[in-house]
Symmetry: C2
Subunit: 170 residues, 2 copies
């Protein structure tokens, strides 16, 4: 089967339900809930402007927080993670701009959460779970640990969706 069948989707993706788990980013791309292999913020043109349609929160940025209703998500860029790169202020472009635009358009954003766990082979694997639809409430800038500006986005889970309950481990 080909990766990325069809156009990017805003909102619910047919056949994918809250709580569905995946092991690889490529699976997210195949089922269509997040097309990008590495990038955390996926975006698309909607009525002429770029809006976010999905994000992956792999829990790698210290500023990120997640509870049942509200999550705080860091923008990308500025090489926060990168090794031998100089950190820079994040810019309001690409995914960051898309997330900002989604505040006014109030479009649903799919949220996928990732975490690490040890499978029965004793191997550390990354797991991803589809958390459901969120809207973006607001954004601001913070100074990161490296002294450079980082965008922060607050998202709120759209009410009425099934509660997220992790399936049995492996």
């Amino acid at each position: 089967r080909e990766v990325n069948t069809g156009r990017p989707i805003l909102g619910e993706v047919p056949g994918v339900e809250v709580g569905d788990e995946f092991q690889y980013r490529v699976e997210l791309a195949i089922v269509g809930i997040h097309r990008l292999y590495q990038t955390g913020i996926d975006s698309m043109k909607h009525n002429g402007i770029s809006v976010a349609n999905s994000i992956v929160d792999a829990g790698v940025y210290s500023g990120d927080k997640h509870n049942a209703e509200v999550m705080i998500y860091s923008g990308h860029g500025g090489n926060i993670v990168g090794k031998n790169k100089q950190p820079e202020d994040q810019k309001l472009e690409r995914g960051n701009l898309a997330l900002k635009n989604s505040i006014s358009t109030m479009n649903p954003v799919r949220v996928i959460r990732g975490w690490k766990e040890t499978n029965r082979s004793g191997k550390l694997v990354t797991m991803y779970v589809y958390d459901g639809l969120y809207t973006v409430n607001r954004y601001w800038q913070e100074t990161g640990p490296h002294g450079k500006l980082v965008f922060m986005f607050e998202l709120r889970r759209i009410p009425g969706q099934p509660k997220l309950r992790q399936k049995s481990k492996i």
Copy 2:
């Protein structure tokens, strides 16, 4: 299905035949003919020394040549491809050392060849084909276009294998 079931294999991999085609590097890892996602040279310990068990020739290095019987393959390291990196002399380590060791052990090395083609959707995709088993005959150093030393390996296809004939396009 998990990536990398079992231990690395030297020589033929059950279920994989000359001419079998793949679209993604991850598929090579899954079937077990080349475990590494990006690295061109896969190696393993055999009788205590590191030998090469498979290589992927994606045709990206100008020094590489391939005909029906003999192929010339560049070593890795030195950031030949990298963008904003300074090129360096390649070192006789990792995959380069493994390929050199395979000269004296005369162990079979699986060769996978890659190329780019346009599918019917008009999208440029990379394809890989399993070419069969080779032995490493000799190696030497050359000065690359960037003025740094590059290892070159000459491999010869083991006789008696089916001829490689590409399957029909898509």
